[in-house]
Symmetry: C2
Subunit: 290 residues, 2 copies
């Protein structure tokens, strides 16, 4: 029998990851702020917990994937949070995309309570989770990395990339990755508009590019979404995209770096969110303002 695992955060990516763990044979206790989202897990045999505290009290390993730094701090440091309720020696594997500095703070506050905090952000859309092709990036204490690796593989991780001891490393890499994807979106969008306004069929052009210069899944998938302007339902929302690009710019500021392309992307996304487009797919920003 595998060890019991606690799982917090059943969003579009959290749900298939939690289902993978169940399928891999881990007894699972799940918690989600909106209770209705626990139904698919309950159906497959997970125990549903009514509070983080109740979940924490019975798990030595907890995975969490929540929407932002604030939500993560709340489930850790809030009243009834993990820090007050996890048994000593427990491991918190944190999958959320957050500021590296937040990971550093949380590693420290976990340490004070004799708990381990591992930064383990994840690359992959929900569809990739279902077919177990996620890429995890981890950093933190050596023993936490060793402990977490087989669990992350069982949760759908095709790869677990180890960035060593420095707790901030994994979240920095994740922010770089999301920035690179957003940059590809902007480039795809501008190229589609230029082709279209020049009287060229952008579908034919992108059929060619994804077969030659840009034959990889990011370009193949997103060029189709942008060509067809299929922005609803969102696979990844503008609101979450803006959150991530905000984190990129915050990290750039603390590293004393100019990122003109990140700033450009931020400006376009921010405008769309102000215009009430927060729930459409983030790829839509690439067609704005042209």
């Amino acid at each position: 029998m595998k060890q019991k695992i606690g799982f917090i955060g059943l969003g579009s990516l959290g749900t298939p990851i939690a289902l993978n763990l169940l399928e891999s044979g881990y007894p699972l206790v799940v918690y989600n702020r909106t209770l209705s989202k626990t139904a698919p897990l309950k159906e497959k045999g997970a125990e549903v917990s009514q509070s983080v505290a109740a979940l924490a009290a019975q798990c030595e390993v907890v995975l969490s994937i929540v929407s932002d730094d604030k939500a993560l701090r709340l489930i850790c440091e809030g009243e009834g949070g993990l820090l007050s309720h996890l048994p000593k020696g427990s491991l918190h594997i944190s999958l959320s995309t957050i500021l590296p500095r937040t990971a550093e703070d949380l590693a420290a506050s976990h340490g004070e309570k004799k708990l381990q905090y591992l930064a383990a952000p994840v690359f992959g859309r929900p569809e990739a989770a279902v077919v177990r092709k996620l890429n995890y990036v981890i950093s933190g204490e050596g023993s936490a990395r060793t402990r977490a690796t087989p669990i992350l593989k069982d949760s759908g991780g095709m790869n677990v990339f180890d960035y060593g001891d420095m707790i901030t490393a994994a979240n920095t890499v994740k922010l770089c990755g999301n920035f690179l994807i957003a940059s590809a979106l902007e480039a795809i969008g501008e190229s589609i508009q230029l082709a279209r306004k020049s009287g060229i069929d952008p579908h034919q052009m992108w059929g060619m590019f994804t077969q030659t210069l840009f034959n990889n899944p990011v370009y193949a998938g997103y060029s189709q979404i942008i060509l067809k302007e299929q922005f609803e339902p969102a696979a990844f929302s503008m609101k979450l995209g803006l959150k991530d690009i905000n984190l990129v710019l915050q990290q750039a500021t603390s590293a004393d770096q100019n990122m003109p392309l990140a700033s450009l992307i931020h400006q376009k996304m921010d405008q769309l969110v102000r215009d009430g487009k927060e729930n459409i797919d983030w790829a839509a920003f690439s067609l704005e303002g042209s």
Copy 2:
């Protein structure tokens, strides 16, 4: 015996393409403004012509690949140019990266002289030409496309993508492609700087990205160049990069489109050329200004 072909422009890409034609069994007459560059072709059996006019007089098919719109107009419309000297019915296959509007003008002026002009810009670095992995994009009259396709394949074209009758199509697609590569460079450069300034090893990060999210030759090749700052000798110079991005912006203007990312790239490249860096690899712009 295959038909005799004229070849104008023995730069870093023109030379391996011309060598492929020779190797494929075409008798070749070559012309280059700087005579010394004809030596490798002469050595392999090509006839060297002292003028465009002398070359044109003996060929029914001419390929040209020159540095810019002005150079191309000169070899076509100048005194002693192709328009005055090619036999009626000849085909000019034009590989240069130029403004779509220039292709339109040249197709018209060739037509007036009962000559065919085919737009056939090419994707691929010199190394790709050597191993016959170029990608051609063609547009123009149907009979010109039919006539040129086997020759382009024999010149190292792994693929010849046919964009139909509209003469401007191929050069528009080529500009979109170069814009997309330049955009990838900017994104790679900003991500490397962010990782480095955040204390992360950017080599490890890019080893991961080129194995996962960005597993394709553009990202694999250029991330290495930017990581190592190997900008000399240039595989593709800043001067040529700036020329291409200028064409992208000119095309955007005539298509009444804003391209904020193209403008950002232009600004950075332009500054470097003003600073005398015109001969280093164009990838260097991505690290500037951060």
